[in-house]
């Protein structure tokens, strides 16, 4: 089976003069259907890695393959279609649309999928229910707590039924109980075949993932879990 994501010797350098090498020759493979947690200290390059996996960021050097195809050979419409239909992102800072209600924000997850507005809102309502926010559908982001915003962001990532979810600290702002509920939701989706990469600082989340990739200073320093994937960078 083709791996969902394959990184070969990926290097990412930010800036030109006072540059930062956020990723240093990272190679790793995530198989379809895996649940991978990514851990590491702040600034170790986790977010950079996640953005590269979603082809939101181009590697400075090295190759990224999504579903076996090198992203450098994909056109902008092809990449966009991947993001629209197959990928779900949860950003570290949520990135919600300020003036729009929770429902609208979640529905935007389907905006570029050729789904009617009525259908988008219906699906959004359903997913908001699953993340426990059905009572907050009309609230705009400034009227939501940090944890509620985070759940809106998760709902938006899930509304399009993606096959690959890339989440940056999806439970970082949640209390233990809500965090556990969200984790249960994500693991149940994974059980249904959705591939997942979760950045986390939470040992419980890391423990729930069969495989954990540990980053430090732009490198993968440990890759524990499923034997076939265990490798050193």
């Amino acid at each position: 089976m083709t791996p969902a994501i394959e990184l070969r010797e990926v290097h990412k350098r930010y800036g030109t003069e006072a540059h930062v090498d956020a990723l240093k020759q990272v190679s790793l493979t995530i198989e379809t259907g895996e649940l991978v947690s990514i851990v590491g200290p702040s600034g170790s390059g986790k977010t950079t890695l996640l953005h590269i996996m979603g082809a939101l960021l181009r590697p400075t050097s090295g190759t990224l393959r999504i579903a076996g195809r090198p992203t450098s050979s994909l056109s902008d419409p092809e990449l966009s279609a991947l993001r629209a239909y197959e990928l779900g992102f949860v950003f570290q800072n949520y990135v919600l649309t300020p003036g729009a209600s929770a429902l609208e924000n979640v529905a935007d997850g389907l905006l570029y999928c050729g789904v009617s507005r009525r259908e988008r809102l219906r699906s959004a309502h359903e997913v908001l229910d699953r993340v426990g926010l059905v009572a907050r559908t009309t609230h705009i982001p400034t009227q939501l707590s940090g944890g509620e915003r985070q759940r809106v962001a998760i709902a938006r990532a899930l509304v399009g039924n993606p096959t690959l979810v890339l989440a940056d600290e999806p439970t970082g702002n949640l209390d233990t109980q809500t965090g556990a509920a969200i984790l249960a939701l994500l693991t149940s989706l994974n059980a249904d075949g959705v591939t997942m990469a979760l950045i986390t600082h939470d040992p419980d989340v890391a423990a729930a993932a069969p495989r954990t990739i540990e980053m430090r200073d732009g490198r993968v320093i440990a890759d524990r879990g499923t034997d076939a994937n265990t490798r050193r960078a």
Partner: protein, 402 residues
């Protein structure tokens, strides 16, 4: 699992409009200021065309009322032999023999002055000429009376006078009851009528008209015609015009001046086609200012909304979708500005036409044309910023704000 070939990112046109409007709502004041230029420019263009067309339409209506079938014959200006100029007395009768001619009538000039009273010195004529007029002049010219009655075969013999509209005003006469008399030549003439302005023969407005017999009897003028008015079959006017000089003055046809009064109006109508260049230029400048305003709003929006652009890319928007979205915003802006401008331009036209007693005429192509102009401006101004927005790397902004 991932099959990039089979699916495409899609954005429904309704959603383009929806997110475009939402984007504009965030920067409402700046957007309003930006469209002001477009509004002013479009308003100017619409008003210029509307006012010109309205005035043209009113002239055409006037021309229709007057008819283009009127010709005049006047003596020439041969200074060597003045007698050569004189139109023969028989000229009106001769002209009447031309088959398509329907009416012939004439006026005869005199040197007499007309004054309110005999106390006013004779050189103060007030620019009023005294003319002898045939009794059929009124009917031939389709002229109308404001007051009183026109000369008839009886009153034409008596010291009675009908005043042109301007002449009556100059003399300060606006009523006929009780009886009004004016000092004309060396005697009192009773004013029996006042004409309305005669558009096709404006020379009559500044005239005091007396009967031909009266002109002969009281002023001693010989009755060589000064102006012969000829109404023709409308389809034959040009043909009649060709033979009129020869018929009127067979001895010296080159000394008979034939003209068609409606030509002056027709020329005025033709000149209305050329719109006021200065105003048009101002409108164009306002449009350019509007374009710069819209471009500015769009560039600012793109700088401020990088996060939104990044998010949309992450949600599956193609570069094209981003470009379309921002172009749509520019188009919505310019359409709003253009619509406001069209409304303002129409109101200006209606107001101006009303003040001038014209009926306001808005050519049917003007409104879509003006809207197209506004949209073209919006497209021109919005396209480049939109393409720049589409080229932004998606991720930079996604990590910035919280």
């Amino acid at each position: 699992m991932l099959e990039p070939d089979t699916k495409h990112s899609r954005l429904h046109p309704v959603d383009v409009a929806r997110i475009g409007l939402a984007g504009l709502r965030t920067g409402r004041l700046r957007a309003a200021l930006a469209v002001l230029g477009i509004t002013v420019g479009i308003a100017a263009l619409v008003a210029i065309v509307g006012v010109s067309e309205s005035s043209k339409a009113s002239l055409v209506a006037q021309l229709d009322r007057l008819g283009t079938d009127l010709l005049t014959v006047q003596p020439g200006t041969n200074f060597v032999d003045v007698t050569q100029n004189e139109l023969p007395r028989r000229a009106p009768a001769m002209i009447g023999w031309i088959p398509p001619v329907r009416h012939v009538t004439q006026t005869v000039s005199t040197t007499a002055a007309v004054r309110r009273t005999d106390k006013v010195p004779p050189y103060e004529t007030g620019g009023i000429t005294v003319l002898g007029a045939s009794t059929d002049l009124l009917g031939a010219l389709d002229a109308r009376l404001a007051h009183g009655s026109w000369l008839n075969s009886a009153t034409a013999n008596y010291p009675t006078v009908v005043l042109g509209a301007g002449a009556a005003q100059t003399l300060g006469i606006n009523h006929l009851e009780p009886l009004v008399a004016v000092w004309l030549g060396q005697r009192w003439f009773t004013v029996i009528g006042i004409l309305r302005p005669v558009a096709v023969a404006p020379e009559l407005d500044q005239a005091a008209l007396i009967g031909l017999p009266a002109a002969h009897d009281f002023l001693g003028v010989d009755t060589h015609p000064t102006t012969i008015y000829v109404r023709t079959d409308p389809s034959q006017t040009v043909a009649v015009r060709g033979v009129l000089a020869r018929t009127a003055n067979p001895a010296n046809p080159q000394d008979a001046v034939v003209s068609r009064p409606s030509d002056a109006l027709a020329a005025e109508i033709a000149s209305k086609g050329a719109y006021n260049t200065l105003l048009l230029a101002l409108g164009a400048i306002a449009l350019v200012v509007g374009a710069v305003g819209i471009a500015n709003v769009m560039v600012m929006a793109i700088i401020q909304r990088r996060t939104e652009i990044g998010l949309r890319r992450a949600l599956g928007a193609t570069r094209r979708h981003i470009a379309i979205q921002f172009t749509a915003e520019a188009l919505i802006l310019s359409a709003l500005g253009g619509s406001a401008g069209i409304l303002a331009g129409i109101l200006t036209t209606v107001g101006y036409a009303h003040a001038r007693h014209w009926s306001a005429t808005i050519p049917p192509t003007l409104i879509p044309g003006a809207l197209a102009a506004a949209l073209t401006v919006g497209l021109t101004a919005g396209l480049w910023p939109a393409i720049r927005a589409a080229r932004l790397a998606p991720t930079d902004a996604l990590r910035a704000t919280t």
